[in-house]
């Protein structure tokens, strides 16, 4: 034992060699490797479906590798169980929160290992104390007695990290931790992670945001198509090089060359595009989640909405799409009032919608890719009430080819596709229908670099064709790169609307957190 302690400074905290794992015909990992030294922040990057998550599931004991060797602190732990992994100090913070919303922070943290008085009753005070102590030690500030349901996304994530630390994790795996955070929240998280590292904890960060990788990590492992293609020191590389390693070719990191705004054609009527007048939405508890928002998106224009999540963007888009009722105001598409019309009528009026949550809204996961590609278009693929399978299949093959959806089998259930390819199915369908107004909500969330570039190009192409596009994204870069005008949403209102040329991350950031109030109606 003492020998091991002595040697541990040079022993990697995690060492995975020659990992192979396949699901049916799909090789998720082939000869993948990962080596993480103790006390470092290690970024694991790669496109969607590159095998990062599989590798981490094997590390966390959720899966057993078909071949290869896993070592933690020098001990061979290949094929261990989740319980063994937790006992050995591995903590995985998942992308999707796994918290009980009706319980308090403290109750969530002690779940499964509750301190009890006389072995029966939950010793709530002790739980709260323990949590408070851990919270102040790590800098992850959350009040233990608050309900999870009342927390913001950033706070909920802090609780998730506290939860694994509470269980004694010294090796932390964070899966896309910033996907739902605002820039200030991201900065807070960075501070916490650096602090944990300086305390000697080991951190593996799964991400596809290259700026984060460069800013935070010490070392980087790049995966592509199930294989580990590079292990590099962050100080010795550039974002462009990492991107090239991930995709296997040169990629343009900005959303590409800006297409010049199309000249307003003379035959465009002034009422074309999307017009929203004084829209109000009342949420649960009678709160005005959207409060008197007015704007217009012209044909050939992208209006980007920035903002910290939970400031009414989701509700606004749902109301425009017909999935949420409004309490006041009007919505017009090409001059047609659709405020209280059902979804199908809005489709006919020229509305297309890439929803923010493809798993809940955008796809029917058990349906085949082919069937998903006609969701919302069923009536065009049916003759006398019967669906024409041949045309559904022709359509699927066409879209799969055009959008490079992989694997290219239209009969696979959508569930079997990677996140990026699922999103391509949604984008292919919504771009394929005839439309004049597009609502694009988080169009590239959880999508890899290559696909992001492709989806951005699709949006720009649609804009060039004179479509009116409303873009909502948590990615400031995306909003900045694609929009003609940018609105910032704060507490249900537009804090500001400005031309993209005048906007920058700093300027928008101030409006997003409410320190600056602007001009917008």
């Amino acid at each position: 034992m003492s020998q091991m302690e002595e040697g541990s400074a040079s022993l990697p905290a995690i060492r995975m060699v020659g990992i192979e794992k396949s699901f049916g015909a799909i090789m998720a990992n082939r000869r993948a490797s990962l080596e993480v030294m103790p006390g470092e922040i290690h970024a694991l990057v790669g496109e969607n479906g590159a095998g990062k998550s599989t590798l981490m599931r094997i590390l966390g004991g959720l899966m057993k590798p078909d071949a290869g060797r896993v070592e933690v602190n020098g001990r061979d732990v290949t094929g261990w169980s989740t319980n063994e992994a937790i006992a050995a100090g591995i903590g995985i913070v998942h992308q999707h929160f796994m918290l009980v919303p009706t319980l308090t922070v403290a109750e969530n943290l002690v779940l499964g290992c509750e301190p009890k008085t006389r072995g029966v009753v939950l010793d709530y005070n002790r739980a709260a104390e323990d949590v408070q102590k851990l919270s102040s030690d790590t800098g992850l500030v959350v009040a233990p007695e608050r309900l999870i349901a009342d927390l913001s996304v950033g706070e909920a994530q802090r609780v998730e990290i506290l939860k694994v630390l509470f269980r004694g994790a010294r090796i932390l795996v964070l899966d896309e931790p910033t996907a739902v955070l605002s820039p200030p929240e991201v900065r807070e998280l960075w501070t916490v992670l650096r602090r944990l590292r300086d305390n000697g904890d080991t951190i593996v960060l799964i991400t596809h945001r290259l700026d984060e990788v460069v800013e935070l990590s010490d070392t980087i492992t790049v995966m592509r198509a199930g294989q580990t293609v590079a292990r590099i020191k962050t100080s010795e590389t550039t974002p462009a090089e990492i991107a090239k390693l991930m995709v296997g070719r040169e990629v343009s990191l900005s959303a590409g060359k800006r297409v010049q705004p199309i000249g307003r054609a003379s035959d465009v009527r002034p009422d074309q595009g999307l017009e929203v007048r004084n829209l109000g939405i009342t949420g649960s508890h009678g709160v005005r989640v959207v409060d008197g928002v007015s704007f217009k998106v012209n044909p050939g224009e992208i209006l980007g909405i920035a903002g910290v999540e939970g400031n009414g963007q989701t509700e606004l888009i749902e109301a425009l799409a017909g999935l949420r009722s409004v309490s006041s105001g009007d919505i017009l598409i090409d001059g047609v009032d659709i405020t209280r019309r059902p979804v199908a009528v809005r489709h006919d009026a020229g509305l297309s919608h890439i929803p923010e949550d493809r798993h809940r809204r955008g796809l029917i996961l058990e349906y085949t890719v082919a069937d998903n590609l006609i969701l919302g278009l069923q009536k065009y693929f049916a003759k006398r009430g019967v669906i024409d399978d041949d045309r559904v299949m022709d359509n699927a093959i066409e879209e799969i080819t055009a959008f490079d959806i992989r694997p290219g089998n239209p009969l696979l259930p959508a569930r079997a596709l990677s996140g990026g390819n699922q999103q391509k199915v949604v984008v292919a369908r919504e771009m394929g229908r005839g439309f004049s107004v597009l609502l694009a909500s988080q169009p590239t969330r959880g999508v890899d670099v290559g696909a992001i570039e492709f989806i951005h190009q699709q949006l720009l192409d649609a804009r060039a064709k004179g479509k009116a596009i409303l873009l909502v994204s948590a990615e400031l870069n995306e909003v900045l790169a694609l929009s003609d005008r940018i609105a910032v949403m704060y507490r249900g209102k537009f804090a500001v609307v400005m031309p993209a040329a005048e906007a920058s991350e700093e300027v928008l950031g101030e409006y997003m957190i409410g320190t600056k109030k602007g001009n917008a109606a």
Binding site: G24, V343, E453, F454
Partner: protein
């Protein structure tokens, strides 16, 4: 599209559809459940001091082994097929219709009234559709009540259908006991028209058994349900609502309208099932004829994995158990079959995810 990851190297292929895997996953779990049930049956029979082999032989002889027994199995399977189809139809839309018992009864009642109202000698080609429409309408009306209450007020269909069972069955009992019965009985007079041929009329070997042409109607109904669910646009919408209501709503499908349609049609299917007893077997409506077949339909739908073909097979299986209980009554209590039915249902519920997991694991290993 320059600079996009669009590459022509990967051609979409329709081949490689996992048909075989899907068939395996559909068929293996019930098979495993059956094995488990058989083993439990062995233990039960042994606990009565009987030989399992002898009892199972008796069971087979009493059901599939002779024309009469087989006819009875087919008769019972027919009603179960209708109620199983009805329940599974609702489940495909994500709705639990517990009301098929009363819908079945209402359908039978309406079929009997129509058969009584039609003049004597109405040709079957006319009388049968009319009686079936009446039966379907009655079941549909009963089914549309929970559907309406759900879409309009959000009332849970399970509660409403259960409550409605009591109300409808009591109403029917009141009609029969108070108004329409033949004295000294609890049934209507014999119908004038619409009586269906029994199998025994065509094949004398089936003599005495209740199996009749409703069987053909049941198989046709399964075909229609299949076509509706998997080929029609309405079926696309219905299954979408059942799988992911939020995504269906996003796709412009009116969830409320689908619910209304699904529960009503579920009632229609159960209602038509009433013809088996009324038109095919007794030629009158008798109070309480449903006798739990509606509730058994839930089990049939479950074991049949909500697929019309699966439902037909499951109906046949449960009918065999039910008829088999009578055949082995001399050796072990026929309630043993009720126990076995319970075991099968439990085993299916448990084995589906479990067997699927094992199958996938095995496939992974064989592919590797």
């Amino acid at each position: 599209m320059t600079g996009s990851p669009l590459t022509a190297e990967i051609k979409p292929t329709v081949s490689g559809a996992p048909w075989r895997e899907r068939a395996e996953e559909a068929l293996f779990p019930p098979f495993v459940a059956l094995l488990v049930a058989l083993i439990c049956g062995d233990l039960l029979i042994l606990s009565y001091g009987q030989s399992p082999a002898a009892v199972y032989r008796l069971l087979l002889e009493g059901t599939w082994g002779n024309a009469y027994g087989f006819g009875q199995v087919l008769y019972k399977a027919t009603t179960l097929a209708f109620t199983g189809l009805a329940v599974s139809f609702g489940l495909r839309a994500g709705l639990f219709n517990i009301g098929s018992e009363s819908q079945l009864a209402a359908g039978g009642f309406a079929a009997a009234l129509t058969g009584l109202a039609l003049p004597v000698g109405t040709p079957l080609v006319l009388a049968l559709p009319v009686c079936m429409i009446a039966a379907g309408l009655a079941g549909g009306v009963v089914g549309s009540v929970p559907a309406y209450l759900k879409t309009k007020f959000g009332a849970h269909e399970v509660i409403v259908t259960i409550m409605l069972n009591f109300i409808v069955l009591a109403l029917l009992n009141w009609f029969i006991a108070g108004h329409l019965h033949v004295p000294e009985t609890l049934h209507t007079p014999e119908i004038h028209a619409g009586a269906l041929l029994r199998l025994a009329d065509m094949f004398p070997r089936f003599h005495g058994s209740a199996a009749n042409l409703s069987l053909v109607v049941a198989v046709l109904a399964a075909g229609v349900v299949w076509f509706y669910l998997f080929r029609a646009r309405d079926g696309y919408d219905l299954r979408a609502v059942g799988l992911q209501p939020d995504a269906a709503e996003y796709g412009g499908i009116s969830v409320g309208r689908v619910w209304l349609r699904a529960l009503t049609l579920s009632g229609v299917i159960a209602g038509i099932g009433g013809i088996n007893y009324v038109l095919g077997y007794k030629h009158y409506y008798e109070d309480g004829f449903a006798g739990g077949a509606g509730f058994m339909g839930i089990a049939v739908a479950l074991v049949g994995r909500n697929h019309p073909i699966g439902v037909l097979i499951a109906a046949f299986f449960f009918a065999t158990l039910s008829q088999g209980g009578l055949a082995i009554h001399a050796f072990v209590p026929k309630q043993m079959m009720d126990v076995l039915q319970g075991v099968v249902i439990l085993a299916v519920a448990v084995s589906v995810p479990e067997v699927r997991r094992i199958l996938r694991g095995a496939r992974r290993r064989s592919d590797a």
